[in-house]
């Protein structure tokens, strides 16, 4: 299993998930199934308007951690390819914050690989998310569900 089939990008600027999807499909020739996940910044928190997010990461460590999850997913589900793009820095409402793509021979592998990657990006990758609310900035902790979701894979 070569690490070359995993592409990880940390992007400080807005990106187009559809362009990423087109590149991914070209790179996954011969696959029978592709799954994409796109996470978007919602414009409201539980009760309040959100003007955007700020995403802190740990240079080096964040990239290596995500690559490790990518390789784990690729080996576990025999993925043909996996791409992960994650925004860093300031992200505006409605903007894509994360894009995960998996390609495999059959659909269950592609679904489960993408699901696994998202669960690990949510609670096991070194990112710290701050919501820019009207009333001030608030650091966000993973929800209990995020830990529970991740525990499904162990």
């Amino acid at each position: 299993m070569s690490a070359l089939i995993i592409t990880v990008g940390l992007e400080a600027e807005p990106f187009s998930p559809e362009e990423a999807a087109a590149r991914f499909r070209r790179s996954a020739e011969g696959a029978g199934a592709i799954v994409h996940f796109i996470g978007l910044v919602r414009d409201s928190a539980s009760s309040e308007a959100v003007r955007g997010l700020f995403l802190q990461h740990a240079p080096g460590l964040t990239l290596r951690t995500i690559e490790k999850f990518g390789i784990e997913a690729a080996e576990r589900w025999h993925l043909q390819r996996a791409d992960i793009i994650h925004r860093i820095g300031e992200v505006g409402p409605g903007e894509p914050i994360v894009f995960v793509a998996t390609a495999a021979a059959h659909r269950r592998a592609a679904f489960e690989g993408a699901d696994f990657l998202m669960d690990h990006l949510k609670s096991e990758a070194p990112f710290w998310k701050k919501e820019r609310r009207a009333s001030g900035d608030v650091w966000i902790e993973p929800r209990a569900e995020d830990y529970a979701d991740k525990a499904r894979w162990t």
Binding site: Q56, L61, V98, L121, P126, F127, W128, W139
Partner: protein, 81 residues
Amino acid sequence: MARLLYYGPLSDLAESGDVALPDAVRDTGALVDWLAAEDAALGEALRSRRVRIIVNDVVATGAHPVTDADEIGFLPPFSGG
């Protein structure tokens, strides 16, 4: 000089940067005690069971050795995606 890196909510409590460690600070436990003596609020936050300490990108469990040549990160719970 050791490099101390504070992430997430911890970065609101202390600024990341290079620090000369006293001779007595030879492991992560002593490091946290020393930082707590300087800043009680920071000390309390760093002592949370949920903060991971990494030394040169390796997760430090227990009293991990530290020297003036190390990069030491304090990582509160992650929230990505």
